[in-house]
């Protein structure tokens, strides 16, 4: 276990997963370590837009060109992660006509295919658009599932020999003779899959090279190595709606601003976002005004949003970086470009490079460029094939078959399973019989949940991001206990309980920001189901004191029933033992 690897990649977001896949496919022995679940930092906390590049076509044409190029690559290699929704930049009467024209020219200059449509045509395609939307530029935006994308990258890396360790937090960067030689990690529950209640261990992993792909956390890893990485974390809110008010990604056509995008995503729409610099990527206020701003401002584009039900809100932290000396105050002015910081060149610390900035759409290109860089450092010659090789789930898969008969599940559910699983559908869905639905909102069956458990251990949030189970309207109210019950096939009761509690609290966190109207009604129903009907909150198993069972009614004709014991039960020591038998 302690033999040196070629490369350690720190960070299990899109960049880290992309890098470890590329390294492994080029034949290097790579280890990925991530302190939470894959996508736990920033990647899992974005709106899910696969950029066409249109968004950057005025301000940053280099980024725009990279986006359209990678947009085409991902439709090809990650087809099961991408929904081809298309996108529009819509113009309201008060939005600047000159900017509309600049956007159009910018897109054309960057080879982004565009079509201009009038308001009527825009509303024909998206009936909920506001009556006064004047016109729109149609672009090839798409929706991408960042969880599925990262998991597929990690799975491919694993198939090519890489070691993937989640819940493995780097606690030190090992430096010997002035060079980085590895990292020390704390495994939350030993190496391998996470299992609740399994004790943690510490491990030193040595390697010839370390890649810091921790994004907004890059400064923290830099500190451990004694180098400055001036990443500027900037938070943004995303608000999840309960249904797809639009089927196309809707962008507001104006220079920059908060609350200017709506992305359809699976069964939901995601509204975004804000842009506020924060000091700590893990501890920042999640504020009411941000949620209100999403609803108020975006209802100018889609008026029904004002009355619609929101399921939850979540915040992400962008890993913005600007080269020293730029002196930008407003985070919206900071470039979205990415940078490789070679700490040998910058800080006289060989053996480590940080990658900062960038965005999900171009993750593969970033990964390719840092893998090139590492190969050069290690004097390793190999060609990158990540732009051509399909990800697991996206290979050799063109027809959605009718899975109803084959897997014994209702057709719409089978269809959704297959859309999520792509070419893995046969492997996952075969052999689970019976295969009942576990999460009704998202149509997730036992087979998918078990597949997630096989990959991720008892961590139900990791199962959630792989399957979407508990991500629908009820936000886990009707299915947290069901998903947990699936763990019982492999894990003992205390593990099941801890995992269940963890998922329930995680689902609650986001709902706090949606507590009004129908979601408050749902929340109260969830509260009643879990507290009243199941008694999860008052379970004697979780209380300090013992329960005097014999102080309670054991049926007519028993001692306790006759009320001879004291009310607190201390004297009712012999009641109810045999009941009325």
């Amino acid at each position: 276990m302690n033999e040196a690897a070629d490369v350690i990649v720190v960070g299990g977001g899109s960049t880290g997963c992309g890098v470890v896949r590329d390294l492994a496919r080029r034949g290097l022995d790579a280890v990925l370590v991530e302190k939470g679940n894959l996508t736990h930092g920033t990647t899992g906390r974005m709106h899910g837009l696969l950029h066409s590049g249109g968004r950057y076509a005025v301000s940053d044409r280099k980024s725009a060109r990279e986006c359209i190029e990678e947009n085409r690559v991902l439709r090809d290699i990650a087809s099961h992660c991408v929904e081809e929704t298309g996108g529009m930049f819509v113009k309201r009467p008060e939005d600047d006509e000159e900017y509309f024209q600049e956007k159009l020219e910018g897109c054309r200059a960057c080879d982004i295919p565009v079509e201009v449509i009038d308001g009527e045509e825009a509303r024909r395609r998206e009936p909920y658009l506001a009556r006064d939307v004047e016109k729109a530029i149609v672009v090839p935006d798409a929706a991408v599932d960042p969880f599925r994308l990262c998991v597929a990258n990690a799975a491919d890396a694993h198939e090519h020999g890489a070691r993937i360790e989640t819940h493995a937090e780097v606690v030190d960067v090992l430096i010997e003779d002035g060079a980085v030689v590895g990292v020390a990690v704390e495994h939350r529950s030993g190496p391998g899959k996470r299992v609740h209640r399994k004790p943690g261990t510490r491990e030193e992993i040595r390697a010839d090279y370390v890649v810091n792909a921790t994004g907004a956390w890059a400064g923290q890893l830099g500190d451990m190595a004694g180098v400055d990485v001036e990443v500027r974390p900037s938070k943004g809110v995303m608000t999840v709606m309960n249904t797809r008010q639009v089927d196309t990604a809707i962008n507001r056509c104006r220079p920059k601003g908060d609350a200017d995008i709506i992305v359809p995503h699976e069964t939901a729409c995601i509204l975004g976002t804000t842009d506020e610099e924060v000091t700590d990527p893990e501890d920042y206020p999640e504020e009411e005004w941000e949620v209100d701003l999403m609803i108020e401002t975006l209802s100018e584009l889609v008026p029904v949003l004002k009355e619609a039900r929101t399921l939850r809100s979540f915040w992400g932290v962008r890993p913005l970086y600007e080269p020293p000396g730029t002196g930008t105050d407003d985070p919206t002015d900071i470039t979205r470009d990415y940078f490789l910081l070679d700490h040998d060149e910058r800080d006289d610390l060989p053996g480590m490079t940080s990658i900062v900035g960038g965005k999900l759409t171009t993750y593969r290109m970033m990964a390719e460029s840092i893998t090139d860089h590492v190969c050069e450092k290690l004097d390793h010659e190999a060609t990158c094939d990540t732009a051509e090789a399909p990800l697991p789930g996206s290979d050799d898969f063109s027809v959605l078959r009718d899975y109803m008969e084959e897997f014994g599940v209702r057709s719409p559910i089978g269809r959704r399973s297959v859309q999520r699983l792509g070419s893995r559908a046969d492997d996952v869905l075969n052999g689970t019989d019976p295969n009942p639905v576990v999460c009704e909102c998202e149509g997730v069956t036992r087979a998918e949940v078990q597949d997630g458990i096989d990959a991720a251990g008892s961590d139900l949030n990791a199962v959630r991001i792989r399957t979407r189970a508990s991500m629908g309207n009820c936000q886990g109210g009707f299915c947290t206990h069901r998903i947990a019950a699936e763990l019982a096939q492999q894990y003992p009761e205390p593990v099941v309980r801890d995992a269940e509690d963890e998922l329930y609290q995680e689902r609650w966190k986001g709902q706090r920001h949606a507590l009004w109207g129908r979601q408050l009604s749902q929340t109260m129903l969830n509260h009643l189901l879990h507290a009243t009907t199941m008694n999860r909150d008052g379970d004697p198993a979780g209380l300090d004191g013992d329960v005097a069972f014999d102080a309670f009614d054991a049926g007519p004709g028993t001692d306790a029933a006759s009320g001879t014991g004291s009310p607190d039960g201390t004297a009712a020591t012999d009641g109810g033992v045999d009941g009325d038998r």
């Binding site: 700590d280 920042y284 206020p285 999640e286 209100d292 609803i295 915040w315 014994g408 209702r410 559910i413 019976p434 009942p436 639905v437 009707f478 019950a485 699936e486 019982a488 003992p492 009761e493 099941v496 309980r497 609290q505 966190k509 706090r512 507590l515 109207g517 408050l520 009604s521 929340t523 129903l525 509260h527 009643l528 879990h530 507290a531 009243t532 009907t533 199941m534 999860r536 909150d537 008052g538 004697p540 198993a541 209380l543 013992d546 329960v547 069972f549 309670f552 009614d553 054991a554 049926g555 007519p556 306790a560 029933a561 006759s562 009310p567 607190d568 009712a572 033992v577 045999d578 009941g579």
Partner: protein, 471 residues
Amino acid sequence: MAIDSDVLVAGGGLAGITAAVAAAREGADVRLVSYKASTLRQASGLIDALGYVPPTEPAKALREGPPTAGRGVDPDEWPDPDGPLADPFAAIDRLPADHPYRVLGADALRDGLALFDDLVGDAYGGSHTDRNALVPTFGGSVKPTARYPRAAAAGLASDDTPTLIVGFRSLTEYDARAFADRLTAAGVPFPVAGVEVEFAEAFRADAKITRTARALDADEPIDGTPAREALSKAVAPHLHDIVDGDGGVDRVARVGFPAFLGDDHAAEVRADLADRLGADVFEVPMGPPSLPGLRLEDRLYDALDREGVRFETGNPVVGVETAADGRVDSVTVSRKGREVPYAADAFVVATGGLVGKGIESDREGVREPAFDLHVPHPDDRYEWFVDDAFGEQPYARFGVRPNGRAQPLDAAGEVQYGNVFAAGSVVGGADVAREKSASGVSLATGVVAGVEAARTAAGAETTDAATEASQ
């Protein structure tokens, strides 16, 4: 034609039915209108009175200002609740002062339970004692409850009878092995094992539990074998699954199933299975759709008929007409889009809470939509919750606040309308979920609201008669 009655009850759940019957028994002419199917079908069918006094303060302040990312909540930092309580009545004084039990008094709960016992007869157990029973929940715990359906009676936890919990592989609500292990972790005084069997697989993988209940009702054949025989055959091999500490084997003497053992012929199904298995049979109450909840609903509507209460469902109360003296003259009922006034001398609001939509909210605030009764709540919606899902949640106590006669109070603490009374989840001040008090609050408020409404109506008639006589 004018629609007029002595007492009009808005809402057809446990509280509305209780209020309607209580008013009818006072001699009032009662009409009940309800909008939708009651939330009884989402409830377990257990009649909880008070099982816990939950802590109202965390051990330490969790945060100031808005929620923050990344800062987790450790539930261990919350103090344990007071309970499970063997005696619900003795704990009422320890509840917050504005709790409906404190406001209405313990006798309201006694009266409510007595009325319930009378309405359901021998379909429920528990009336022989003031004490709570502990009943297994499908979450694998036990919970204190005041009354329990006969179908659950053999499962009471204060008993050392060896127990088998049965789960079905096609049912995802619980895993019977984890269920049994959880009961053991809760310290139950009986040995228990859990087994997952194949039975309901004969139906489609994701058939509703009501499908299974119907099959058992009719004893319809599954692959040629009658359903009850098929079920007992699936369970029989596991009657010796309990292994004690010395490696010895106990034969189970009772078997718990998810609550779908028949619907119309539930008692017959249980008796038949018990006979075949040579063990008592009990049901574990489940989440929605809940057969015990549906069975209770049927029973209560039959009771309404017997008590002479006229009722209609499907039409919401959308507003009220008030008279100059600050009383409500009539409520406006929306019937197929037409607004019809329903006049009465007194009104009971039993329209439900946040789940039943008797209490509504938006980003600006919380309100009672039918009568526009005052619902106290913090202005800032970020003060409606705390960070621990099972903590002291302000939203859980949202509702109108009554006086000792169940009359809703306005913001100044004055009676809002002299002839309006409130019952059930529309009444706030209790956290019925953590207290395990939902049914008890409905019964206590229902009986007081019903009696007070009837007496108010009788007073109004006396006044009217006097007025007419003097003319």
